[in-house]
Subunit: 412 residues, 2 copies
Amino acid sequence: MTPIFIIDRDRVERAIMDLGAIGACAGTGVSRTTFSPEWVAAQELVGQWCRDAGLAVRMDAVGNLWGRAEGSAGGKAIATGSHIDSQTPGGRYDGALGVIAGAIAARAVLEQAGPPKRPIEIVSLCEEEGSRFPSAGFWGSRGIIGTIAPEDPERIVGYDGVTIGEAMRAVGLDPARIPDAARDDLEVFLELHIEQGPMLEQAGTPVGVVTGITGIRELRVVVHGRADHAGARPIDLRQDPMDAAAAMIHAVIGVAKEMGRPAVTTVGRILVEPNFPNIVPERVEFTIDSRNPDPEARRQQYARQDALLREIAEAAGLEMTTEVFGALDPCPCDPEVVRVLEEAARAQNVPVMSMPSGAVHDSQQLAARSRIGMIFVQSKDGRSHTPAEFSAVEHCAQGIEVLAGALYRLAY
Amino acid sequence: MTPIFIIDRDRVERAIMDLGAIGACAGTGVSRTTFSPEWVAAQELVGQWCRDAGLAVRMDAVGNLWGRAEGSAGGKAIATGSHIDSQTPGGRYDGALGVIAGAIAARAVLEQAGPPKRPIEIVSLCEEEGSRFPSAGFWGSRGIIGTIAPEDPERIVGYDGVTIGEAMRAVGLDPARIPDAARDDLEVFLELHIEQGPMLEQAGTPVGVVTGITGIRELRVVVHGRADHAGARPIDLRQDPMDAAAAMIHAVIGVAKEMGRPAVTTVGRILVEPNFPNIVPERVEFTIDSRNPDPEARRQQYARQDALLREIAEAAGLEMTTEVFGALDPCPCDPEVVRVLEEAARAQNVPVMSMPSGAVHDSQQLAARSRIGMIFVQSKDGRSHTPAEFSAVEHCAQGIEVLAGALYRLAY
């Protein structure tokens, strides 16, 4: 008979507090950047949790910490985890909760059900956020799928001016060995993560089973105009990039508003030159972050937005350049893994709802080498990347119970 | 019989080059901030020109340099001039040309027509631009009309951290004596200035006679939203200040486009918090510089813009705050002075056209204490506040001929 796993709420709360204390800042905030002393201390704490759970611990060549229980039948592993690096400052939950969940769920399953048939691994991934090395997001998961280029360690520079290669060497890692981190023996990767949005809270549901991860395109748009005196140049003789950029921004956000959920579009960043009140700008640059988990709807969303950008630039008679600086295709979760998660939730008596992920995650990278599934835990007010990030211990524990049930179903 | 004044083109060119050499930068640029060593040297050069023209020279308590020829019949003075401080960098013409014009025109008139009946004064005003002390624009002309507050010298701080009072003391001026700079004995103030716009060039006319100076309102708008994850917060649950700000910017510029000349509206400055591509902004701040020389049209322009701002904020359900940080009422030029300028142009055989000024000028301040008139000289490509600023010597000399003719008509 399939066992029920009851997760101790106090143990969950203690783990959140203990990990949150490493790099604590701004009250309930955390600032823990990859390869920093705080990150080293956090990986050591995770290693201790793994040993307490009876797992064999190692750090791979890229900086991920793994704990492993061998399976009596061998074969590919059932892995779970997330990342412990944070935004600066971030909160106690984004990423960290998935590592805590892995350690606690693995311990519960091993204690209650004994040695598994298939190997179980938990992993604490590094530099998901790119908060120290802005162009090295998903460093740990990219190491596992083997997409780090040989020149990356010396090419990628952090906000502190240090290359990621130097930072690795400072914590005892050899960048030349990065290819050793690649894995082709992961059967399933499960990631528990806070939702970072308001849907579960609004539905009054503690846990979500993710059906797929959104596709994203990050576009940099530059509108070139002509700087002019704000008074002396008649309105009909201007080449005003601000007027055109404003029309573009309102139009591309309007596409997502009209399409409705799950389409989203965000213009979060604008740079204006010269940015003086009484000079018509020479140049306006802005970013468009546009997401949709449905491949066909996403294609239409980008096509409509691109057409509007072109039409507005042409109508204004202004030169416009665009550049894609980030893109990830939508990533469906494995249907069989989704079914296992839903079955585990039913058996564990945890209310869940199905939902897409509007945020991007390590799972999206790892999908290249394993079947993936994700569990969301309700976020208070949908906040994340801020010290105000919060999830109730009860909801965290319910998410871990679903994870434990799924680990059992997949590995025993 | 009324004399004709022929201005020596070489003298004009030499004066432009000599003054432009003081604070020269970036090729044809000038960076000459008020009370700097360059400013002191420039005032000394202007003083020398005045003495060469037979004028008595003094610096007033606020930093303006005056040259004066007494009038045989006494009475209030006929004054002309502009400013020698520049943007950083600006060009050789904005402001400077009006000071050069005053010195050369006064010399020509005095040499050719002898002592005047009414006093003639030329003035080199200080800190029109506010390029060293951003809240002290029109410092010199405000000193003349007596609107500098007693606390201003110690309250107003420059970009270099120095108060304007300290900067005055460093060049030998006593801030306590500022009230002594006030004048109530100016009958007429004539200002020659580059157009800073394209109208004269497009019309193929060297000189403009200004009918009035535009009214301006500078508004700071802050739209308050809620920072959210660019992926996890559904589009319909956002409080996105960027979307609303973009709609507002396009709408308020649209009002000026629809009203047409002479209405203009410029959004030159935006500040976004936190300004990251993947975070819905918390707050978007922008400026609206909106101008119209017609008092009633201006009132309607602002009312329509204010209504649009309110409507868009309300429709988005966002809090908006607005603050006026600069305003000048439209300022008609004195009709009798305009008539004199037009008559002088006809007599001097200089083609002119009537036009409003879309830029603000010292004349707007001085209108509080004297009748004003302005002469515009054609600007190449309408450029100003840049080293690319240029006016042909021929056009400059033609403008000075009109100024000389007007000085004669008013003072003899």
